[in-house]
């Protein structure tokens, strides 16, 4: 038989919870005050599925590019010209604008030795910052939390705008928080029950205590984030796409006094084995429209110099197109860095060499872990060697 929820689960609503926050919940609220000016924030945008880097930053004068891609190349006339040799995908108008303003840096041929062509495994490697023959169960930004957050009172230092938390934000001791809509999932229908449980819980067993701690932190953080996001709700008109909504949430939080240093959002799927052009254009359009508003929003509120937007994908795609007007899994790829606070701008290193391939795939010139090291050391002011378990050389674009 079936029992309707309302007939037997007597749960209260959290609608008034912010007015009646129980004392024990207050304990979890951060004691830190306003974010000091100049406090840096990192926004990672993940292109899931393996974005085709060659049709993102197009080598418009390279014959090999055109001959390998007779049907899916981007004509030089359609690309937004950056340099004599490089152009941007037509849908990325904001990137062209940022480039012209000196607010975009592009790193080519980023990858790692012995690349893995499985989405899952390669993403695993990018998330955990391992070598391709190592298996870490924590992510690089999760380990950043471990380093940074020894005395943190809330797990709000890193937020993923999503329903499911990615490996990248899972540390040994600390984990980021995943939530798509601050108003969303948590607490809405069952918050009072969980709070009552927590209130009555007697600390006794380590494992159960850990679960209680995670539960109460999650609920109080979700409420805290929701209230923060309401303090200075962004007035800008964001598109109603998933990315638009995510970036709006992020903007509202960046403009609040929350202690979040890292935001994480994904866009996909870029797995364009078939009819690549439509799919990539559609995704880039969604990104472009949302990013345009986001950048303008940050600029108007004078935060653009303190925010770094970084894009990556788990791999690039094969140089040669396949028979279905798509491309198959490849290796090295480009990364974008967008900020008002870049030291070096434009195209940071040479375009990929299409002559010197490894079984049809680009050879990586830059290890992605050196980019992480740069972000950690120079942007987030963290101990990159401890977090990456190794000292990597850093770049000078920050």
């Amino acid at each position: 038989m079936l029992i309707k929820r309302r007939t037997f689960l007597q749960t209260g609503s959290l609608a008034t919870a912010s007015l009646l926050v129980p004392k024990f919940m207050k304990a979890f609220e951060p004691q830190q005050g306003l974010v000091p000016p100049g406090n840096k924030t990192l926004v990672v945008i993940q292109f899931s599925g393996g974005n085709d880097g060659l049709n993102t930053v197009v080598p418009i004068t390279n014959d090999l590019y055109f001959s390998n891609r007779p049907r899916i190349h981007i004509p030089a006339t359609q690309a937004h010209k950056l340099t004599t040799d490089a152009g941007l995908h037509p849908a990325l108008t904001i990137a062209k604008e940022l480039y012209d303003n000196g607010e975009l840096a592009i790193m080519n041929s980023v990858g790692y030795p012995n690349p893995d062509r499985s989405h899952f495994r390669s993403m695993d490697i990018w998330h955990s910052a391992s070598e391709s023959n190592e298996y870490f169960t924590t992510g690089w930004l999760g380990r950043y939390l471990d380093e940074q957050c020894k005395n943190c009172t809330t797990p709000t230092q890193a937020l993923e705008v999503d329903d499911v938390l990615s490996l990248v934000l899972k540390g040994e001791q600390n984990k980021g928080l995943a939530l798509r809509d601050p108003k969303g999932l948590y607490g809405v229908s069952s918050g009072n029950y969980f709070k009552s449980l927590h209130h009555a819980h007697v600390h006794e067993e380590e494992t159960v205590d850990y679960l209680y701690k995670t539960m109460s932190e999650t609920i109080s953080s979700a409420e805290y984030i929701y209230r923060q996001s309401q303090l200075h709700p962004s007035a800008a008109q964001y598109p109603s796409t998933k990315t638009g909504k995510s970036l709006k949430t992020i903007a509202s939080l960046i403009l609040s006094d929350i202690n979040t240093r890292v935001y994480y959002v994904s866009l996909g799927s870029f797995d364009t084995h078939v009819n690549q052009e439509n799919q990539q254009t559609k995704l880039f359009t969604e990104l472009n429209d949302a990013l345009s508003v986001f950048v303008k929003d940050l600029k108007q509120n004078r935060r653009f110099n303190d925010v770094m937007i970084m894009t990556f994908s788990e791999f690039g795609r094969r140089v040669k197109q396949n028979a279905s007007n798509g491309t198959d899994h490849g290796t090295a790829n480009n990364m974008f860095f967008i900020s008002g606070g870049l030291k070096k701008k434009g195209i940071l290193n040479p375009l990929p060499d299409l002559q010197d391939l490894n079984a049809g795939d680009l050879k990586h010139q830059v290890d992605f872990k050196t980019v992480y090291a740069t972000m950690l050391r120079k942007w987030l002011n963290a101990d990159d060697a401890a977090i990456l378990k190794k000292k990597f050389q850093v770049h000078d674009f920050i």
Partner: protein
């Protein structure tokens, strides 16, 4: 500690938790006798779970000899390609079926021990291939040997097309060795990191050259790609084959230690007690790797019931969901809902994160996964709308057109009402018939929770429906399953 709690401990660790029909007997029976029964129930051959046929095998039926085979393949290229395509196309759906059917076994099979130990091996021999047929065959190998001899299991798994494909041994040839397979056999299946050298990996890889499979007959040894030269491996010298390498690995006591410690961490506690595992490993090694010997030593010991080992193991998502369904018979409206929750909670059967399997323990818990776990019983019980967006899996979606992919995503991304399930409460109510209303709460809590302390009646009751005895029982069960305490066993 009550006798019942001990018995529930045994049922949670050696299986997927107490079933509703068992609950009554757990006060009386001694754990030694309960264990005997568990062992007895797990005897016998498992019934193979079949979801996919080998279409090529059907096509090649009746063709004798290599020449005839070559001739046939030459003349029937299109037909063969067609069958391969059909298999690939149905694989996604077939894998889902395999997932559901195996989960059903975990819930309903009387051979709880076999399914639980198979579930352990499923993580130990982690394999991410997208051929449902290969996965189905590997699962059968595992379920057949789960309680048998580890050496035989290791050999059979190593020769399964699924594992050979996953670890790239097809590419391991005399002229260009691929070390992946050899490395993982040592690092993950037998010795563990730090107990072999890079030299050993190289030489073992040479010995495994020629281990291959074809779609017709499964494992084949290809003499022409095998390197039959002399190898030096773990201090021994000879013209070793892959079988020799596996024998040498089994002769290493470290293999017994590695497996024992992993079994201990999975079935008993995250932190292996070195004194206990040393004794267990010794016995296991002396027995020639008989799994029943090892399991018996664990589950019939006194230390297994030590306070430090009770109520503190975080259930994996699959164990959590199977456990709920064993306690209350549930009919899921949409079988995909189980798959969706597996994905959201981080454990999809047949899709381990990587060769190392699921790390387990606290790694199951983060803010979002915990909140979903805490709400899942209510979602199932109340047909509550539940909107949750999935992360796609591009490995699984590979090769679909953007349109196909979008349609599929639309269908699966948002679980609205897909979480719903019909709970068959009648047998549950009947079970509590003789319990007075005053004692009901304590009784139910004792059945569901393995922790030392449990949320008190005064805490939970305000959130329980008291309108009738039946509603009281049902909503108490659902609310107690929605606690942090229920996440551990």
């Amino acid at each position: 500690m009550s006798n019942r709690k001990r018995n529930q401990h045994l049922l949670w660790r050696s299986g997927f938790g107490p079933g509703m029909q068992q609950i009554q007997s757990l006060d009386q029976i001694h754990s030694v006798d309960l264990w005997k029964g568990i062992l007895q129930n797990a005897g016998g051959e498992p019934k193979k779970i079949v979801v996919a046929e080998n279409r090529l095998q059907n096509l090649f039926e009746g063709i004798e000899g290599e020449d005839a085979m070559r001739q046939f393949q030459k003349e029937n290229k299109a037909a063969i390609a067609e069958q391969v395509k059909l298999m690939r196309q149905s694989s996604r759906e077939d894998l889902k079926k395999l997932n559901h059917l195996w989960l059903d076994e975990m819930v309903h099979s009387p051979a709880q021990l076999r399914e639980k130990v198979s579930f352990f091996w499923h993580g130990h021999f982690a394999c991410r291939v997208f051929s449902a047929h290969q996965q189905q065959e590997l699962l059968h190998v595992i379920r057949t040997h789960a309680l048998g001899n580890f050496g035989e299991l290791l050999r059979a798994v190593s020769k399964s097309p699924a594992m050979l494909a996953f670890l790239n041994n097809q590419q391991n040839r005399k002229k260009s060795p691929n070390e992946n397979f050899a490395r993982e056999v040592m690092e993950l299946f037998t010795l563990g990191r730090g107990h072999y050298t890079e030299w050993d990996v190289k030489e073992a890889a040479r010995a495994f050259t020629g281990w291959s499979y074809d779609s017709r007959s499964g494992f084949v040894f290809k003499q022409q790609t095998h390197d039959d030269g002399v190898k030096k491996f773990m201090g021994r010298t000879g013209r070793f084959t892959g079988d020799d390498i596996i024998n040498i690995l089994l002769e290493q006591k470290q293999t017994a230690r590695f497996i024992t410690e992993k079994i201990f961490r999975f079935f008993v506690h995250e932190n292996a007690d070195p004194k206990i595992t040393a004794i267990l490993a010794d016995e296991f090694f002396k027995s020639g790797y008989e799994m029943k010997v090892l399991l018996h030593s664990i589950f019939s010991s006194d230390w297994f019931y030590d306070n430090r080992y009770m109520g503190n193991r975080i259930k994996s998502p699959v164990e959590f969901m199977a456990g709920i369904r064993r306690f209350v018979p549930i009919q899921l409206d949409n079988p995909n809902s189980s798959l969706v929750f597996q994905q959201v909670l981080g454990q999809v059967l047949f899709l381990p994160p990587n060769v190392a399997g699921w790390p387990g323990g606290k790694s199951w818990i983060d803010s979002s996964s915990l909140m979903v776990r805490l709400q899942l019983p209510r979602i199932w019980a109340s047909k509550e709308d539940f909107r949750l967006q999935m992360k796609g899996d591009d490995d699984v979606d590979m090769g679909r057109s953007p349109e196909e992919m979008q349609a599929a995503r639309r269908a699966k991304n948002f679980i609205t009402r897909a979480g719903a399930a019909d709970w068959n409460w009648e047998p549950v109510w009947k079970n509590y018939e003789d319990v007075s209303r005053e004692r009901l709460y304590e009784e139910i809590a004792a059945h569901l929770l393995q922790t030392k302390s449990a949320p008190g009646k005064q805490v939970v009751e305000p959130f329980v429906d008291k309108s009738s005895r039946e509603h009281y029982i049902s909503s108490t069960i659902v609310q107690l399953m929605s606690t942090p305490e229920y996440q551990v066993c």
